[in-house]
Amino acid sequence: MKRLGLSGNYAVAYAVKMADVDVIAAYPITPQTTIVEKLSEFVANGELEAEYINVESEHSAMSACVGASLTGARVFTATSAQGLAYMHEVLFMASGLRTPIVMANVNRALSAPLNIWNDHSDAMAERDAGWIQLWVTSAQEAFDATLEAFKIAEDVLLPVMVNLDGFIVSHTYEPVVLPDEGLVRGFVPSRPLQNRVSPKFAYSIGVVGPPEAYYEMKYQVVDAIEKSREKIRDVDKEFGERFGREYKFVNEYMMEDAEYALVTMGALTGTAKVVASGLRKEGERVGVLSIRCFRPFPKEEIVALLGDLKGVGVVDRAVTPGGPSNPLFAEVATTLYERGSRPLLQSFVAGLGGRDVPADDFKSMFGLVKDVVREGKSRPCIYVGLRE
């Protein structure tokens, strides 16, 4: 075990190296690039025995990953924003063909206007692609989630996207505990995976699924991601036992006796926690719930942890223009709808295109949640920090 100062991106690269991947296919894009630069370096130095495919686009990156994964190789790629959007159709093929690809998506705003900074619009636009989505808030979590991702993906035969906030997590150096390589291999053994493309069997893969078959084939993905909940829980538990850091579908902060809470994802969580802790000292019963596993969505946890609160604010770092609400809010609201009594929900949008969301903004969000509860009615989505 050693402790290194690593950026979130380097933490991902170290996890990929320790997982002994066989194939990496990637294309540069800010703010992801330092992940694949580091991996190229590992391959060039012989520290990682892998084929590194310098593809000519993200579309080809994901396509090559699918091909490689079908042979039973362990594969990895990384991207951001436009790159993820460019992969869009292949993401569905990757889950449809049940390829256990692991991808780091370093969250960045989608153009236009062109913006290299952080928000969640890239990953939110791929909600329905049949990928498991993990979200992290620190470099250590990025390392841990990447390792877990290989195990989850290969156990349930679904691709996994590890999301880390562009620059905020990806480029911030933090102390990261790296376990011994032997321990990592014990957790994700380096062995050939189930291979479906081999000269040994004449399988046809990626066939035409006519109306009599497509529905059932698609349902298999739905079923697999539903059933992956159990497996993710097991992997989180095993990870905790082996490495001493245990993860769950959601991270709770001061939720035990909370009356009001904010729901967040990614790096915003840190500021929200600091503000909540300050408000607690003033006697406010507030908490923070951050979503670590967005797909499959933690329905049970949301109901159990938010169901009895008075008011909940949901902070989206992405928008659904013209929709009734924004992505994360929609998920939370839908989940709570099934319950007869539920808290008042207030929708917030914050931090688009890398706009800073300072502590004061969280303070006012907590205040607004309290206000709407007092008023007995939530307000239309509040765009926090938006200039008139």
Binding site: V23, S60, V66, G67, P199, G206, V208
Partner: protein, 306 residues
């Protein structure tokens, strides 16, 4: 280098493309792929871009493929093949597998000339050891005969129909082999199923070289070109004999005509067999003849039969 086939009798009797697939009656793309697979043998992995061949051979729950086969998307079959080839290489090096199959990627002209050109260029440039096959029926036949950048000058398709202001396709076919050769790959060639021995030997060569190889196969399409379903092989022959489809190969930059045409037929004999050229006037026919003459000069074919 392994000796090529000299006569049709030496060609294996194995059929790796099963009969009963759904390609149109008279389709020569099916014939071409049948020949490709005979030459390639069993130790292969095939990828195929979306298109006629893909939809007509893999309609669940049936498949016509007796070799391992993967389809992913329309524009990415060369990238898919890159991933398979690289993974096999990595797994062998890491002693996780001993398998060492040839990788063959197949795309139609739309999937190669147009939407798949970027992925193809990337795969050729990176030097993956694979054979790319373009079966070229000169339009998007799977979606109902729309023009592609492989559609020849003046041909009628549903998106370049002749009319008061149009004689059909306005542009000339791209030089796919030229594009491939510009990547300095070790082997690229043209072929036509009407010349099966030539085609199959080119497949063998393409698989044998280390690095990328490309085979561009003209596959006359009765549905899109509008000719009688019995005439596919004849059409391919006429394309070659008129000089419009020279059969040649480029090995490490050296170009060689593989089927000589001592006396070329006039292009009119090729054009008049096809409904897609029915609207042409003498002027366009002459222009197409001039193109055949230029190709004959470039590749060293014989003079026009008078």
């Amino acid at each position: 280098m392994t000796l090529g086939f000299r006569t049709i009798k030496e060609v294996p009797k194995d059929e790796f493309l099963a009969p009963g697939h759904r390609m149109c009656a008279g389709c020569t793309a099916a014939t071409a792929i049948r020949q490709v697979l005979k030459a390639a043998g069993r130790n292969i992995i095939v990828t195929t871009a979306t298109g006629c061949l893909e939809v007509a051979t893999s309609y669940f729950p049936q498949t016509a493929w007796r070799v391992p086969w993967v389809h992913l998307g329309f524009e990415n079959t060369a990238a898919l093949a890159s991933g398979i080839e690289s993974a096999m290489k990595a797994l062998r090096r890491k002693k996780k597998s001993e398998e060492n199959p040839h990788v063959i990627a197949i795309g139609g002209d739309g999937g190669t000339f147009d939407i798949g050109l970027q992925a193809l260029s990337g795969a050729l440039e990176r030097g993956h050891d694979f054979l790319y096959i373009c079966y070229d029926n000169e339009a998007y036949m799977n979606t109902g005969i729309q023009r592609s950048s492989a559609t020849p000058y003046c041909a009628a398709t549903t998106t370049c129909p002749p009319g008061k202001r149009s004689m059909g396709q306005k542009t000339q076919k791209k030089d796919l082999v030229g594009i491939a050769v510009a990547h300095e790959i070790p082997y690229a060639a043209t072929a036509c199923p009407s010349y099966p021995i030539d085609l199959m030997n080119k497949v063998k060569k393409g698989l044998e070289v280390e690095g990328p190889a490309l085979l561009h196969i003209l596959t006359p399409c009765p549905t899109g070109w509008r000719f009688d379903i019995s005439l596919g092989i004849e059409l391919g022959k006429m394309a070659v004999l008129t000089g419009l489809w020279p059969l040649y190969e480029v090995e490490n930059g050296v170009t060689r005509l593989t089927v000589q045409v001592p006396k070329r037929e006039p292009v009119k004999k090729y054009l008049e067999l096809q409904g897609r050229f029915r609207h042409l006037t003498e002027e366009e026919i002459n222009r197409i003849q001039e193109r055949a003459d230029r190709l004959a000069l470039k590749f060293g074919m014989g003079p026009l039969r008078q």
